[in-house]
Amino acid sequence: MALRDVLPRSRTLALVAGLPALGLLLLGAFFYAWGGWTLAVPADLTIANGDEPQTLDPAIVTAQLDQRICTAIYEGLTSSDPAGNIVPGVAQSWEISPDGRTYTFHLRPDAQWSNGEPLTAGDFVASWKRVLDPATASDYAYQLFYLVNGEAYYNRTITDFSQVGVKAPDDHTLVVTLSHPTAYFLQLTAAMQTLFPVHLATVREYGDDWTKPGRIVGNGPYVLKAWRLNDYILLEANPHYWRPVAIKRIRVLPVRDANTCFNLFYSGKIDLILDQSSIPPVLLPDIRKQPYFHPNPIGATTFVRFNVKRHPFDDVRVRRALALALDKQDIVDKIIRSGEPVARTLVPPGNPGYIPPAGLPHDLDEAKRLLAAAGYPGGRNFPDVTLLYATKGTGPAIATEMQALWSRDLGINSIHLRGQEFKVYLNSQSSTDFDLCISRWIGDYNDPQTFLDMFVTGGGNNDTNWSDPAYDQMLADSESTPDPVRRMQILQGMEKILVEDQLPIFPVSFTVGAVLYHPGALGGFASNFVDDHPWGDLYIPGKK
């Protein structure tokens, strides 16, 4: 049979080819009319964000990816500059009382919402009241428990909001009273979206739906113009913001896959990548040599938790031995490979005024001696224990390497790996259902407190069963002293207990993120420890 016999005009052929084609045409036409094809909108800058925002309501937001967009749409009393310093935001100046407990903020008289209405001190009071209303369901409501009676109001032990420590004596003055002198409070007002103002009339009108484009009212450098689920977000300069911004339109792409994200950057479709998780790990060693690679050390630490209630980690000598023996350099060089420095302390460097303790060195001989003293010479008779880790990112590789290193250097062959899916892992960690656990903590603000207050007795993030009354007392002292130098000394003493003496945990490495942008194509970006990069300060060189 020749081929030409098979290619005639035929109704069946028309049916086979024509019907699906027709259906497709109709569906395409419908979809076109429905408004799906609008990505052609021009933008001056395209930023990759690793996932779809969970919410853009500042009272509810918790994920860093969402916080970035919120910081573009809203602004707190204070703000951050590109280097991470605290600068005036809605408040143009402030005074702190000598006891460190009362903050008086003077708001810009010309402060406005993005719809042109004046923004007043009363808006802050109402917004904070909203956060402290359990019906709002704010995960970070406790960021306002610093206020006098904040927690009591949340728990409804008091019902009169006027007893809570925030007052607006006039439209441009906000007086905040804290229950302790909180040295980092101005950082919270800059970086914690929970403390940002929301436009209550809009919230009341639309309920949960108020953050949609066309409805949302903010007070930051940008306004939300478009938001399509998993597709893109378009931000436009807010004409009512108190200072001009250089970049008029920003497009945000929620690209989850690292390969996809890097391909888009490589082909010029994305101008700025802010997360290391958006870069394929196998390419990282090569990308690090490129001019568009910028290391971004951030205030976060990878560390190991011991469950001090479980044998053999109830013995501090065993904890010390494992910490002293671990070849952290090997882990950062071979596994993490992003140029992370080895950590000897939990608090990352870069906290002004804080002098960290020395921490423990890598000392194999001492480790072997301690292990023998604890009854396990050469690792013999060491009981079966498990090492818990999350099966995402470099978690499995780090765990495997740790297991191998402890086996090689201490002769312990009874540490078993226990990888769990992220949420299951978090569950095991918070219920201290582990012997050893690989953890990471990202500081909420640039202060040692955010790392050290975790390990207070019964603290929600302690997760080690460790408890030391002396440590708890020091934390209380540090919170009540108005003297900043004295406070830092106390915090140093606490960290010494943590990483040199008691070791309920030991640090492994300080996180270094990776940021990608072409140096000639973007300005106004700096790496900083709070990993906060205000988009309102970005500019395109030559276009400024």
Partner: protein, 305 residues
């Protein structure tokens, strides 16, 4: 026939009910709550969160509340995407997957039947061998490998097509092709096998003996019978392709519904998981019903009961 279709549709309700109930029970018992994060949430705040998202109370109360909402067409709130309802998420992402899926399957049908037909009429010749080889390759090669290869060649090296994204016609080409390849391969093999069998039957010999041109024998007589297994295969296949693919949609950054099938479970987003399972179940039932009806239309021997 109308009555039969209606009866079949009613029979779908208990099936969907069982599917959703099983999903609900599984999600309810999964370790970790939707609100679990690296930061500990104080108990009163956790209680407020659970109240807001109807996750408080006993299992019976939660399940009853969900069924009650479901009966009113309300699929619940997403615990992951806090300002969105499950209805809204599905309404935004399902059409995207459907457009991509329709395009992919339409191409698969055209290419698969053509290639399969070609292979059948040239059985055991070089063309046939090549087609069979390619079909085997198409079935074996994983989607993500093919996707990355295509991106490398067509988007990066040749710079002909965009690497990813959604919103213009050229952005549809690679993902739709990628999505269609396994279906092209399966349909090719199905058509080839079925046509080879049919071409041996007596009625084909009769048609040829009548002096009909070979094209008429093939298209008017043989293909009509040979197409039956393709209809059967296409029912579930279309249900699958219209509800998106996690791999293709993730690699090409497409805002479809596919990734929700996995991510909603990882996020412990209970109502979202139930929602996508329900949608897939519904599509599967509808597409199978459509396939049965088509069978009935094409082949009168089939009894719809």
């Amino acid at each position: 026939m109308g009555a039969i279709i209606i009866r079949r549709l009613f029979a779908a309700i208990p099936v969907l009910f069982i599917i959703v109930s099983l999903t609900f029970v599984l999600m309810h018992n999964a370790p970790g709550s939707p609100f679990t994060s690296e930061r500990h949430i104080p108990a009163p705040i956790m209680a407020a969160l659970e109240r807001k998202y109807h996750l408080n109370g006993t299992f019976g109360q939660q399940y009853g509340q969900y069924l009650w909402d479901l009966a009113h067409g309300d699929l619940g709130l997403s615990t992951q995407y806090r300002n969105r309802t499950v209805n809204e998420i599905i309404a935004q992402s399902l059409p995207v997957s459907m457009v991509l899926g329709t395009l992919a399957y339409a191409f698969a049908l055209m290419a698969g039947i053509t290639l399969g037909g070609l292979a059948a009429v040239r059985q055991h010749r070089a063309g046939d061998r090549w087609i069979v080889f390619l079909a085997l390759l198409g079935i074996s090669i994983p989607n993500f490998v093919l996707a990355l290869l295509l991106i490398r060649v067509f988007a990066i090296d040749l710079n002909l097509l965009p690497v990813a994204g959604w919103g213009s016609l050229d952005q549809l080409v690679l993902p739709a092709f990628c999505l269609s390849v396994p279906f092209v391969a399966s349909l090719t093999r199905l058509t080839r096998g079925s046509l080879i069998e049919v071409l041996r039957l007596d009625f084909v010999r009769t048609a040829r003996a009548k002096g009909l041109p070979e094209s008429a024998v093939l298209f008017r007589h043989a293909l009509k019978v040979a197409i039956l297994p393709i209809i059967g295969y296409s029912g579930p296949a279309i249900a699958g392709v219209l509800t998106g693919s996690i791999v293709v949609e993730t690699i090409f950054g497409i805002p479809g519904i596919g990734p929700f099938f996995v991510n909603s479970v990882l996020n412990r987003d209970p109502f979202m998981t139930c929602g996508v399972v329900l949608i897939f179940g519904l599509f599967l039932i509808l597409c199978n019903l459509a396939a049965d009806i088509l069978y009935f239309v094409v082949d009168r021997r089939v009894n719809l009961q």
